[in-house]
């Protein structure tokens, strides 16, 4: 694993604009960054990223199978009791999951460590699956990189295949919140994949979803919604007015309700409890667990429910404590052993390993100037070259 400085394609911004990648620059700061790329060997990808991602997914399913029948666990995860049956039913009925991103700390050597699982509303799918792919083909064509490079990235075709297999009846509605370019871009891309699988699709804003007198969700044409993809966290759904109506609405939702157990940081101590010592896991405990005091080598405190690095506190022996402000943390938090991200030329690098229909199928890399990855962290492309 190396970071290699390379030339940018001189026309990448105009390409981004015409290909629907409007959020390539966020608040004037670069988000897509192709002034460098990361190089991996095939063995690093297959042995250290791809295979472990599949193993982690399997362990996560074991956690869900245990949690849905354990009220104490559901309570610890701060999942409202009114949704327990709903979550349980979605697991028992095997409602299918679509996609998720494991965030891993990996420096090219040794086992990748799971930092967290974005199992509900992951973003950066488009830039990983499509724009990064286009970059690779063009960078080889233009001799910016050697022509025999590959990339761990079959996300696009795996997404299309997944939609073919989901068995979605009737139209698929897809919703994002108004006014968030990055979210809308991600959902538009997911719509693109669904359409290529032959599904009839219908994009709308989450705020525009209606409800009829029978408690069914409706779209802008007053048609009922039977399957809804929502880029909106389950924990927020469960506190919304319509969210309370969802279990009786008859609509299937992607990601399904049981994913709320995995997108919760409480997953990390549950994994450690069931699979303590697994090479891809870090020691983790609920904050009120006395064993949390044993993490003397530094730790990271994460709220059960938080996004994009908000409300993260990093306590490092002999160094100042880092923290990021934010609106989360009321539900409680977990403590995870400190495993700092590797630093490449001053950049703190995290690997996002993508699973589509539970199949590991791609990777995206984010860099930040600080040890905590945030929504403003830059996205860099990668290559596989032995």
């Amino acid at each position: 694993m190396q970071r290699i400085a390379i030339a940018e394609r001189d026309d990448w911004k105009s390409q981004a604009e015409t290909l629907g990648f409007s959020f390539h620059t966020i608040d004037g700061a670069p988000y897509w960054d192709e002034t460098a790329c990361y190089r991996f060997t095939m063995q690093q990808i297959e042995d250290d990223i791809e295979d472990p991602s599949g193993v982690i997914e399997t362990m996560c399913f074991d956690v869900v199978a245990r949690a849905i029948n354990d009220e104490e666990v559901l309570r610890k995860l701060a999942i409202p009791e009114t949704f327990w049956d709903y979550i349980r039913a979605s697991w028992m009925e095997q409602d299918r999951n679509l996609y998720g991103r494991l965030d891993l700390s990996y420096d090219g050597n040794g086992p990748a460590k799971l930092l967290e699982y974005n199992a509900d509303t992951p973003t950066s799918l488009y830039e990983t699956g499509a724009f990064q792919w286009v970059w690779l083909e063009q960078a080889m064509e233009r001799e910016i990189i050697p022509p025999n490079c590959d990339q761990f990235n079959s996300i696009h075709e795996t997404m299309v295949e997944a939609f073919r297999n989901l068995g979605i009846p009737g139209p698929l509605h897809l919703a994002a919140c108004k006014g968030v370019d990055e979210d809308e871009g991600t959902v538009r891309y997911i719509e693109e994949c669904a359409a290529q699988a032959g599904l009839k699709t219908n994009f709308l804003y989450l705020e525009d979803i209606g409800i009829d007198d029978a408690g069914r969700l409706t779209d802008m044409d007053d048609m009922t919604i039977t399957t809804l993809f929502k880029l909106y966290p389950w924990e927020w759904v469960m506190r919304d007015e319509f969210g309370l109506a969802l279990p009786k609405s008859g609509a299937k939702v992607i990601e399904p309700p049981w994913r709320a157990i995995l997108s919760n940081k409480g997953l990390l101590p549950l994994l450690w409890e069931m699979f303590e010592g697994h090479p891809n896991l870090l020691p983790a405990y609920f904050a009120d667990d006395p064993r949390a005091n044993d993490l003397t080598g530094g730790y990271v405190r994460k709220p059960l429910l938080s996004r994009e690095g908000s409300n993260i506190e990093m306590v490092r022996p002999g160094e100042e404590t880092l923290s990021v402000d934010g609106p989360y943390g009321a539900e409680g938090s977990i403590i995870q052993a400190l495993h700092p991200l590797p630093v490449f030329e001053g950049n703190h690098t995290v690997i996002g390993s993508w699973l589509v229909a539970s199949k590991p199928c791609g990777m995206g890399i984010r860099e930040d100037n600080s040890p905590i990855t945030k929504d403003s962290s830059r996205f860099l492309p990668h290559v596989i070259l032995d």
């Binding site: 190089r39 792919w133 001799e143 022509p147 025999n148 590959d150 079959s154």
Partner: protein, 182 residues
């Protein structure tokens, strides 16, 4: 291949995109140590072997990775595994201080697409210091570990690069100097 074979974007943005991943082998080739090795395998006539070797030598001068210092070349190809082209062979405008790897073999290649009429071309082969058991083309494409190997490879693997100076500054095989390479 660990990436999608194609990515289509037809709904997003203002222009549709359909790109195919491009890595299908389009050349078949047989690997030889030298003219004698070529002749003794018996598949090509003596005359063909000499012609193809000559072709490979010409391509060697044209497409071999080139370095401004002997040390840089040694770093990529090994101690005393580099040469300076003879004065009369140098391309016009050459700086006069150019180092390139020794020719370690050649390939008789034939396009599979039929466009080129099925004629055989010669192409030079090298061995890099970090992976000396593998024969590679001037574009660092591995073709096998032993002479006599029959192989398939993509068209670009033997083509000269279009932007030579830029590629060379990174070193075509240069794991140490650049991060790329074998």
């Amino acid at each position: 291949m660990k990436r999608s074979k194609a990515v289509a974007l037809s709904l997003m943005g203002t222009s549709a995109l359909l790109l195919q991943a491009c890595d299908d082998p389009q050349i078949e080739a047989k690997v030889y140590r030298d003219i004698q090795n070529c002749i003794t395998t018996g598949e090509l006539s003596q005359e063909q072997c000499i012609d193809i070797h000559k072709d490979a030598l010409a391509a060697h001068l044209k497409t071999a990775p080139k370095y401004r210092s002997r040390e840089d070349c040694y770093a990529d190809f090994g101690y005393e595994k580099c040469q300076q082209p003879q004065q009369r062979q140098q391309a016009s405008g050459g700086s006069g201080n150019v180092w390139m790897p020794l020719l370690m073999g050649f390939m008789a290649s034939r396009a599979l697409d039929g466009v080129s009429g099925g004629g055989r071309r010669g192409a030079p082969l090298y061995r890099s210091s970090d992976d000396p058991n593998t024969l590679r083309t001037s574009r660092n494409y591995p073709v096998g570990k032993s002479y006599g190997t029959q192989t398939k490879l993509p068209t670009w693997a033997t083509q000269p690069t279009r932007t030579r100076t830029r590629t060379l500054s990174r070193g075509g095989f240069g794991a140490r100097s650049s991060g790329w390479g074998g």
